[in-house]
């Protein structure tokens, strides 16, 4: 039985024009594994409740729990959460999920593929890899629409190292100022990235359903062991 816990906002970080990271102090938080999520519950004065799942962005080694919320204007929950201020409180329960998780005892090379806000649970894995001094080689390919939509932009750049590789690709960037990769994550790129691991590669794919399906199908077509491809899909039906 998972109990509802009270989370208190200790800091808010505006990540992009429509997303906010909430740093939370959660009384009784038992700790989590990278990739897990929480259920958030909001209760109106008349007793009506709305629940949504949000991935945890912080590393298991972090003292505070971090959630990154993208505001969906038609949503019931995200407009409220993205408007919270320091000291505000709400209910959550967790951690939840044992399928889409990475532990730092794992030594196999890891490929993380994130589409849009699907980068959030992957960020927890990347931070975990960095903060706990893992020996596993970890590479993230993050597909975003434009530069303005990139979550954790500066931190991602700083996390790049000998054993951590960060690739950001933009599908709809209008500016010529972007010197990085453009376009979607395609078969050619995945072929290059999966070749090196000799069938030993562990893959985590998170994003909208069409993104996840396309990535997982391509990885398997390229010879990745399907058992080593973990996916987490989200969509507007779960959002808001």
């Amino acid at each position: 039985m998972l109990n509802w816990l009270v989370a208190t906002v200790t800091k808010t970080i505006n990540e992009t024009p429509d997303s906010v990271s909430l740093m939370l102090d959660v009384l009784g938080w038992p700790g989590h594994r990278a990739g897990q999520h929480v259920d958030v519950r909001l209760t109106a004065d008349d007793g009506y409740t709305a629940e949504r799942s949000y991935s945890i962005a912080s590393s298991p080694s972090s003292n505070e729990l971090e959630l990154t919320i993208v505001r969906l204007d038609e949503g019931e929950v995200s407009p409220y959460l993205t408007g919270l201020a320091v000291g505000d409180q709400f209910e959550l329960r967790g951690p939840i999920g044992g399928y889409f998780v990475w532990d730092n005892t794992e030594t196999r090379p890891v490929l993380l593929l994130g589409g849009g806000s699907g980068v959030v649970p992957l960020m927890s894995m990347l931070r975990c890899n960095a903060e706990l001094g893992s020996t596993a080689h970890m590479r993230i390919v993050y597909s975003s629409r434009t530069q303005d939509d990139i979550l954790y932009r500066d931190e991602l750049a700083a996390l790049s190292s000998d054993t951590r590789d960060v690739i950001i690709t933009l599908s709809r960037e209008p500016s010529s100022q972007w010197s990085g990769r453009r376009g979607r994550i395609d078969r050619e790129l995945l072929s290059r990235l999966t070749n090196v691991a000799e069938g030993n590669l562990l893959c985590f794919v998170c994003g909208p359903t069409p993104f996840v399906e396309a990535m997982a199908d391509t990885l398997v077509a390229l010879g990745t062991n399907p058992n080593n491809v973990k996916t987490e899909r989200f969509g507007p039906t779960n959002g808001g």
């Binding site: 998972l2 629940e51 939840i96 044992g98 399928y99 889409f100 359903t209 996916t231 899909r233 039906t237």
Partner: protein
């Protein structure tokens, strides 16, 4: 599967209220086609009240679960076999 399907991870919170072991890593065998998948991999539909999990191979309904206040409805007849992993401290039979 249509493009609005999510995955079994979305059912983890509500199932955690019913089952003691972590359910997203539970192995489910489809009563219709026999495919065995971890629950977290199954296709999930959340349009209706509650969550419906379908087989990723044949799309048969494996599980329906709904909660309203403190009452839960659970239909698992689409799962012919459920294999659960107990936490280590409960491992001795």
């Amino acid at each position: 599967m249509d493009s609005t399907a999510l995955d079994g991870n979305v059912a983890a919170g509500i199932l955690a209220n019913i089952f003691y072991p972590e359910m997203t890593v539970a192995a489910t065998s489809c009563a219709h086609c026999g495919a065995t998948r971890q629950l977290g991999e199954l296709d999930a539909y959340v349009h209706s009240p509650g969550v419906i999990l379908r087989c990723t191979s044949c799309e048969a309904v494996l599980l329906r679960v709904m909660q309203n206040h403190n009452r839960v409805w659970l239909d698992m007849r689409g799962i012919s076999l459920l294999q659960l992993e107990l936490p280590e401290e409960d491992a001795s039979p």
